[in-house]
């Protein structure tokens, strides 16, 4: 049972237009392992290849190179999908069905039957707050309701692994918060969640790990905390009335600079120096009240990464 939820090796997809003239390299030599039980966020600007990756993993599109496994099974085995849930980015449901019937249809296709399916449908409609809309035709649903129905559809078969493509698209802020809470809840149930998004601030709030994708290339992958940490930058706050002890020489030595909020920023070249600096400051009689590592937002990191990649492309 000790396998990754998702494993890809050199996965690639090149779309060829119908006339074979133009090709688009949507995904390039994509290798990644995602362990079970976490929320993974794949970030990237529009057209980066995020949707393509999910489609490859689900057998909706076929790779031009490489291979992949989900839940330990090769992606060519369609049976593994009984343990998978998926919310596509622009999902459509048979317009002639009601919300309840849509769930019944997809539930049946997932192999669910009878009372088991019926109770599950009611349970999910309640979770996504659509109980009262169960008997309304989906063609009368609003965008936000469609999104919530989509989430219910994706969770129907109690999947081990859930793919969500831009799940908060078209959802109001309260709905977004509800979706985030729902995803955290699912994680606590031991599910693995794979999330595509271009809304970084949101992903930051719930994901354990993120990958940054640009033009089909995985630029970076890692823990959100690690990725956003600015390694050599700290913020220090001294005991008030203590600061006069900071001599200009000392300030210069460690390039300490006072910031607007009463903190001092500290830049070092080697993190091992931190202890030494603290010792020296304390030896001067300064009392340190706070020392924090500076952080980028995911967005800062993202923008600088993409810019770097663009520069490299030009060279």
């Amino acid at each position: 049972m000790d396998f990754n939820a998702i494993e890809t090796t050199g996965l690639a997809k090149t779309y060829t237009s119908s006339f074979g003239k133009k090709t688009v390299s949507a995904l390039n030599n994509f290798t990644l392992q995602i362990p079970k039980g976490m929320i993974f966020g794949l970030l990237g600007p529009n057209g980066a290849g995020k949707t393509t990756l999910i489609k490859l993993l689900l057998g909706i599109t076929f790779p031009t190179a490489g291979s992949a496994k989900i839940l330990g099974e090769d992606i060519s085995n369609f049976k593994v999908k009984s343990k998978i849930g998926y919310l596509p980015e622009n999902h459509k449901y048979p317009a002639y069905l009601t919300g309840g019937q849509v769930l019944h249809f997809f539930g049946s296709l997932s192999g669910m039957t009878g009372d088991n399916l019926k109770t599950r449908i009611d349970e999910l409609l309640k979770i996504v707050k659509l109980e009262e809309w169960k008997k309304t035709k989906v063609k009368n649903y609003s965008k936000g309701m469609m999104q919530r129905l989509g989430l219910a559809q994706a969770m129907l078969n109690d999947p081990e692994l859930i793919f969500l493509d831009e799940p908060t698209d078209g959802v109001d802020p309260i709905g977004r918060k509800e979706i985030r809470d729902l995803l955290i809840d699912l994680k606590h149930q031991g599910k693995t969640i794979f999330l595509n998004s271009h809304i970084l601030s949101e992903v930051e709030l719930i994901t354990d790990r993120v990958g940054i994708l640009n033009k089909g290339k995985l630029l970076k992958e890692g823990n959100v905390k690690e990725l956003t940490a600015r390694k050599e930058e700290y913020k220090i706050r001294f005991e008030s009335g203590n600061e006069y002890l900071l001599s200009p020489e000392l300030m210069e030595k460690y390039s300490l600079a006072k910031t607007n909020d009463g903190y001092y920023s500290l830049k070092i070249t080697n993190s091992n120096d931190l202890d030494k600096i603290v010792d020296e400051l304390r030896a001067k009689g300064l009392t340190i009240r706070e020392l924090v590592q500076q952080k980028d937002t995911l967005e800062d990191m993202f923008i600088s990464l993409i810019n770097e990649a663009e520069k490299e492309n030009k060279q």
């Binding site: 779309y15 489609k55 689900l58 057998g59 909706i60 599109t61 076929f62 369609f78 049976k79 593994v80 999908k81 009984s82 998978i84 849930g85 998926y86 596509p88 980015e89 622009n90 999902h91 459509k92 449901y93 048979p94 002639y96 069905l97 249809f105 997809f106 049946s108 296709l109 997932s110 192999g111 559809q153 793919f163």
Partner: protein, 273 residues
């Protein structure tokens, strides 16, 4: 198997949500009600009496089955025309972005999805035709106390005619993801190519003496499914209980259907969405 059945069942439901199929059911129902009114009144006996008086001297079974066919024929033609129109969008709707994505994320094979849609279309037409034919058959059989069982062949043959055309619609819509082209080709074959080739092949010597032209006509005659004969002479002969000259059009059309669906499935298996 179960997955195919689920797809078939929901295709039937999708069809029933369409005005076209419901309209046809209503037309059928009106025809049946009209027949009940006519044959329910005493005047109706006059039809048979009239035929007898006119010294047509047809046997009862001939009168009954001719009458049945007379009522049915224009309606089955209409049924096929409407069914082509209504079913041409089954596959394109399934292939729409956002819809196919969800279907393919379920533990269902692509073969099952496509076969389910195919059988779903057939089931709709089968039910529509069965309702009409059985209704007409029951009313006339009770009225004249003559049960012409062979008339029921029409149900199968009309459905089969539709199946041939529908397989082509399925193939074309898998390739183009649209409904227009498939629909046009189906109409072209059913209304023009098949009847014309049938006629040309039967009277080939009247048109030309060139062996090249003759072979070209022959080749097309065998390549294009022979819906004109299947839904025309063969249906007629079987319904009347007559001998059928040749079942060859059935076999050739069946091979066409199986090949077309085979190609459709193999194209669908490799298709990116």
């Amino acid at each position: 198997m179960n997955n195919i059945w689920i797809m078939t069942w929901y295709t039937l439901r999708e069809a029933m949500a369409r005005k076209v199929f419901i309209s046809f059911l209503i037309i059928s129902a009106l025809v049946l009600i009209f027949m009940l009114v006519i044959f329910g009144s005493n005047t109706s006996i006059d039809i048979v009496a009239g035929m007898k008086n006119a010294k047509l001297n047809l046997p009862m079974e001939q009168i009954v089955s001719q009458l049945e066919l007379l009522i049915i024929s224009p309606l089955t033609g209409l049924c096929i025309l409407l069914s082509i129109f209504a079913s041409a969008s089954f596959i394109p709707i399934m292939l729409e972005k956002g819809n196919i994505d969800i279907l393919l994320s379920k533990p269902v094979s692509r073969d099952q999805l496509l076969l389910g849609k195919f059988f779903g279309g057939l089931l709709v037409v089968l039910l529509n035709i069965a309702f009409l034919v059985l209704g007409v058959w029951l009313i006339i059989s009770i009225k004249f106390s003559f049960w012409n069982l062979s008339f029921l062949w029409t149900i199968l043959l009309v459905t089969f005619t539709f199946a041939i055309l529908y397989s082509l619609i399925v193939l074309i819509s898998v390739i183009t993801k649209g409904s227009t082209f498939g629909m046009m080709v189906a109409y072209l074959i059913y209304l023009i190519l098949s009847p014309v080739l049938h006629l040309a092949n039967n009277n080939i010597d009247m048109f030309t003496s060139s062996t090249v032209v003759k072979s070209v006509v022959k080749i097309f005659y065998y390549i294009i499914p022979q819906t004109s004969e299947v839904s025309g002479t063969i249906t007629r002969n079987l319904a009347l209980g007559n001998a059928v000259d040749s079942y060859q059009p059935i076999w050739i059309s069946l091979i066409f259907l199986v090949l077309t669906m085979g190609i459709a499935i193999s194209v669908f298996r490799k298709k990116d969405f």
